[in-house]
Assembly symmetry: C2
Homo-oligomer: 354 residues x 2
C-alpha cells in the first residue's frame, strides 16, 4: 500500500517536470535529519560509519545528487570559472579552450563559457558574468576599465589572456607580441630584405597592433620608414584577397609580415596560385602563432610559436592561485615567442635579394 505521498506523485500531471530528490527526501526515507544527509557528503564531518552507509545506500537508490546551486548559495563558492573568448580565438586557437577546460576541470572547477563576436561586443557577456557568482574569470578579450573595477569590487579574481591590462587588480599572461614583432624585423633586415609589406588583422585588434607596430617601429629604426600595410579580418580568405589588392599596384616586395598564420597561408596561396611567385626565392613570408597547418610541408611557414597550451595552463593556475589567496600581488607574465624557421622565408645571412 502506497502512502499519500506516493499517490500524489503518481497522480501528478504527466507534463509536470519530474522533481529531483532533495536531501530532505533522502532524510525522510532514511529516518534522519536533513543535516545528517548533508554531512554524509562531507569528508571531515563527524558521522558514524553505519549511518553514513545507510544513508548513502538510500541516496544512491533514490538517485540523489547534491544541488550545486543551493550549495553555492550557502557556501559562497560556486566552483565555476567564467571564460570569455572571441570568435577569432575559438577559430584560431581551439586548443586554448580545451586546455583551459582540462586545467580547470582537473582542479574541480566547471567552465562557464561566454563567446563574443569581437572585443567590442563583450557587454552582454559581462552582464551575465556579473549575475552569476563566478569564482573567477579568464578573459581573452579587451574589457573596459569600469567593468574591471566592478568585478574587482566584488572580489572576482581575473586573468587576462593575451590582453595586457594596465590595472593592478588583475593578473595577465600574454605573449611578447611586440618583442617577437621586433625580432622578425631584425631577422628580415639582417637577411637583406628592404622592400617589405605588412598584412595586419583588424584595425583595433590589440594583438595585431602590438605585433605589427613593433615590427614597423623596428624597421623604421633601420631606416625603412614606408611599409605598405593592409588591414584584414584575420582570415585566410581576407589575407589572400587584400594582399593581392595591395601588391597589385606596386613592384614586387621582398618580404611580407603577416599578423597571424591564417593570413600568411592566404598570402602564400596568393603568391603561388594567383601571382606565380616562388617562395622563398621571389618573396619571403612570415606569419605568427605557429598553428598546426604552418608546420605542414605544403606551407612550411616561418612563424613565431605561441605556446598556447602552456599559456592556457599557466592562466588557469594563476587564476586558481588567486582564488585560493586573493591577496596575492598582481602578476603579469610575458611569454617569449620562439621564431620557428621553416622555408617560407630566406633568413640566413646572405646577399640581399635582387
Amino acid at each position: 500500500m502506497g502512502t499519500d505521498d506516493e499517490m500524489d506523485r503518481m497522480h501528478s500531471s504527466p507534463t509536470a517536470r519530474p522533481r529531483r530528490a532533495t536531501s530532505y527526501d533522502v532524510a525522510r526515507a532514511a529516518g534522519v535529519a536533513q543535516s545528517t544527509v548533508s554531512r554524509c557528503f562531507k569528508d571531515d564531518a563527524k558521522i558514524s560509519a553505519k549511518t553514513r552507509d545507510h544513508i548513502l545506500k538510500i541516496a544512491s537508490d533514490m538517485g540523489y545528487t547534491g544541488n550545486a546551486l543551493a550549495r553555492s548559495l550557502i557556501t559562497q563558492r560556486s566552483n565555476v570559472v567564467g571564460v570569455i573568448v572571441t570568435a577569432f580565438t575559438i577559430r584560431n586557437n581551439p586548443e586554448l579552450i580545451y586546455a583551459l577546460g582540462e586545467a580547470l576541470q582537473n582542479a574541480g572547477n566547471s567552465l562557464f563559457l561566454m563567446v563574443v563576436e569581437n572585443d567590442d561586443a563583450i557587454g552582454a557577456s559581462l552582464q551575465k558574468a556579473m549575475e552569476y557568482p563566478l569564482d573567477g574569470l579568464i578573459c581573452c578579450a579587451q574589457m573596459p576599465e569600469d567593468w574591471i573595477r566592478q568585478f574587482a569590487n566584488r572580489g572576482v579574481p581575473m586573468v587576462f589572456f593575451n590582453r595586457l591590462v594596465d590595472s593592478s587588480l588583475v593578473d595577465c599572461i600574454t605573449l611578447d607580441h611586440a618583442g617577437a614583432g621586433r625580432r622578425i624585423a631584425e631577422a628580415l633586415y639582417r637577411a637583406g630584405h628592404r622592400s617589405v609589406v605588412c598584412v595586419r588583422g583588424p584595425e583595433r585588434a590589440p594583438v595585431s597592433q602590438l605585433r605589427v607596430d613593433a615590427f614597423r617601429d623596428r624597421m623604421a629604426e633601420f631606416g625603412i620608414g614606408s611599409i605598405p600595410t593592409v588591414c584584414t579580418d584575420f582570415s585566410y580568405a581576407d589575407g589572400r584577397r587584400r594582399f593581392l589588392d595591395l601588391v597589385g599596384g606596386m613592384k614586387r616586395p621582398d618580404a611580407v609580415f603577416c599578423a597571424n598564420d591564417q593570413l600568411a597561408l592566404g598570402v602564400i596561396d596568393a603568391c603561388r596560385f594567383d601571382l606565380g611567385w616562388r617562395i622563398p626565392e621571389d618573396i619571403s613570408i612570415i606569419g605568427f602563432d605557429d598553428i598546426a597547418e604552418a608546420g605542414r610541408p605544403s606551407y612550411a611557414l616561418t612563424t613565431v610559436r605561441q605556446p598556447i597550451v602552456d599559456m592556457a595552463e599557466t592562466a588557469a593556475s594563476l587564476l586558481l592561485a588567486r582564488i585560493g589567496d586573493p591577496d596575492l600581488p598582481p602578476r603579469r607574465i610575458m611569454v617569449p615567442g620562439e621564431l620557428i624557421e621553416r622555408s617560407s622565408a630566406r633568413l640566413a645571412n646572405g646577399s640581399p635579394p635582387a
Copy 2:
C-alpha cells in the same frame, strides 16, 4: 564623516572577500521591502513608475545585480545549458562551439561547457552536469544508457549531436555519415577505382565507424571485398604516418578514403612529400567534413561537407523547443552530406586507372 556602516566596511580585514549588494541592501537603502526591489526587475510586475525609478537609481548606484543562483533556486530554471564536447570536436570543429554559444546566448541562455578527452572519459562531466540544475544538455559524445535515463528522469532535455542514440527520450541531430560513406564508394567505383584503402579514426569512434563501415559495405556489394584499412587517432600526423605504414608493403592503390579531412591532408602530404605520387593522377584521395583547409588550392580536397554551423543552430533550437515544451515527440534529424568535388580525386566517368 562616515557612518558606522562605512567604518565597519573600512575596518574589515583586507582579506575579507567583498560582499556584493543584495536585494535586501537595496531595499534598505531605498526604504522599501525586498519584494519590491525584486519586482522592479520583472516586466509584468505591478509597481509604480515612481518607486521603480527610485529603486533602479539606487540599485545602479550600489552596483546591484541579481544573483542568478538564488533566482534559479526559486524559479527552478537556471537558463544554463550544458554542452559536452570531445577534444576531437574542439580541434576539428571549433566552429561548432562558437555557433552553439551564439545560438544559446541569443536565446538568453548561458553555456556550461564540459570538455572530455574522448567518449569513454565522459563520467566525471556527467556527474557535474547532474549536480548542476541545467535546463538542458547538448551532448557531442556517446553517453551510456543509464545516464540518459537518469537525466530523463530528472526532466533534463537532451540533444545528441552526431551521435545517434537509440532512445525515445532524447532528440538527435546527425549527419548521414553512412549515406555519405556509401555515396563515396559509389563515386569511386563508378570512376573505375578498384584497389582502394581506408584510413579510419579510432577503433571505437562512432562517427568513424559509420563512415567507413558503410563505405566498405557498399564496396563489398560491388564485389570489392578486401579493403586494407588502418586505424588512427584522427590526426594529420597519424594519418600521414599510418598511411605510409599501410602502403609500404603493398602495390600502390587507386584511391584512399579517409574518415576525416585531417587524415586526408596527412595522406595527401604523404603521397606528395614522402612517396612522390601525383594527386589525382596516381591516386585519388577523399576526405570527410570539409574543414577550411580542404578548400585551399594547396590541397583542393574532394570531401563531404558537414554543415556544422547549420547543424549547431538546429541542435540549439531543438533543445530550446524541448525546454519550452517537454512533451514534444522525440525528433531525430539526419542531415545529408554534400559531396564537394575538388581535384584530389578522379571522379568523372572515364577509363579505369592503369
